[in-house]
């Protein structure tokens, strides 16, 4: 969706301000937020694309005024509420009041270690040949899906050069809607001048075949 999370090229946010000697967590609740989000993700009740979609579709004012881990928590609560895994009363009180929804797995420590170590590959067996090759001129299609997409607004309608074929990867626009779909993924190189009207650098963006056309 076109929303505040799609920030590439925005000019209004001021300077980058790194915090010297930044701690890993600024409060112990952040530590818990990380652990809860990753652990809940491991229950198999949603995929990473649905998780990103939940975060980026938070109300704009909330998204813009929340810290990173606040966004994670809000997104996770949304995913759980949607699936009836918790209700508002439980979230407010911290007490279980309705029966739990059966989850695909609730890993113990050892299983979680294995899950973290293996990760989750986005590659799938290829179907069909890649339409584009390195060196081809392609254009990012000017499409504006209402749901989750990883096609940033700043490249839509812009032409670039295929830099690399990354592989055949799960397509987030579909998986965010619960549909299993995958496609050829490419790295496309765009000139800053074409994207922003200024700059001498190159911007490389990973794009699925469905979001590209020959230029």
């Amino acid at each position: 969706m076109n929303g505040p999370h799609d920030m590439g090229g925005m000019q209004c946010y001021g300077p980058v301000i790194p915090e010297p000697n930044e701690p890993l967590f600024h409060a112990s609740w952040e530590r818990d937020a990380l652990a809860l989000t990753v652990a809940m993700g491991a229950t198999g009740m949603w995929n990473i694309d649905q998780s990103r979609s939940a975060r980026e579709s938070l109300p704009p004012l909330q998204y813009m005024s929340s810290s990173y881990y606040q966004i994670w928590l809000a997104g996770m609560e949304k995913l759980m509420l949607e699936r009836g895994m918790v209700n508002g009363d439980e979230l407010a009180s911290g007490e279980a009041k309705i029966a739990p929804v059966p989850v695909k797995q609730s890993p113990d420590r050892e299983r979680m270690r294995a899950i973290l170590a293996v990760g989750a590959s986005a590659e799938r067996p290829a179907v069909g040949i890649a339409q584009f090759s390195p060196g081809n001129q392609v254009r990012a299609v000017n499409r504006n899906p209402q749901g989750h997409t990883r096609l940033p607004h700043y490249i839509r309608g812009k032409a670039g050069t295929v830099e690399n074929i990354c592989g055949f990867h799960v397509f987030p626009e579909a998986t965010a809607l619960g549909r299993q779909e995958a496609g050829w993924l490419y790295t496309i190189a765009f000139s800053a001048a074409d994207l922003f009207g200024q700059g001498d650098h190159t911007v490389l963006v990973d794009c699925w075949e469905a979001t590209l056309e020959r230029a």
Partner: protein
Amino acid sequence: MTSHSHDEDHDHSHLDEMDVRVRALKSLLIAKGYVTEGALDEIVETYETRIGPRNGARVVARAWCDPAYLDRLRADATAAIAELGYGGRQGEHMRIVENSADTHNMVVCTLCSCYPWPVLGLPPVWYKSAPYRSRAVSEPRAVLAEFGVTLPRDVTIRVWDSTAEMRYLVIPTRPDGTQGWSEEKLATLVTRDSMIGTGLALSPEAVA
């Protein structure tokens, strides 16, 4: 200057609220059987003690020392990084991007905060925040200047927006005056920021 402004009071009460809320959430999710204490502890321990930028620094140091390893990184970075025992969540599809005398790479995720966790750990707040996410793609030189890095005009900058599950690790250029250094010593020059592309590797003088 007041020692405790109204804004700080406001922040404290918001953060106390978060503390209460998250503790309640944690007990709820455990009570419902969705998560286990063990899983939570494992996650925290992994990212607090086992995974961090020292991992990536070892990859870079080895790449500097061992041309055959660098070739393997170029051919299949995920597999080569796994040789050092690093991999898994958010590092399933790695690619190295090499800095040189005429090319400087920077990595960003404009849409959220995608970052190569197995080699760099958890991303810093600035990486996940609006200023970096918005301006790294459009004005990388200005962003680099905010990090105290000025590159000659003839250095090409390549900014990688992590829009898919590919995760990028910058291999900074090896500093001068490090001939004969061990991998372990070289790794001490490799900063986290140099592997994101908002910094350069330290010079020998800096760690002397």
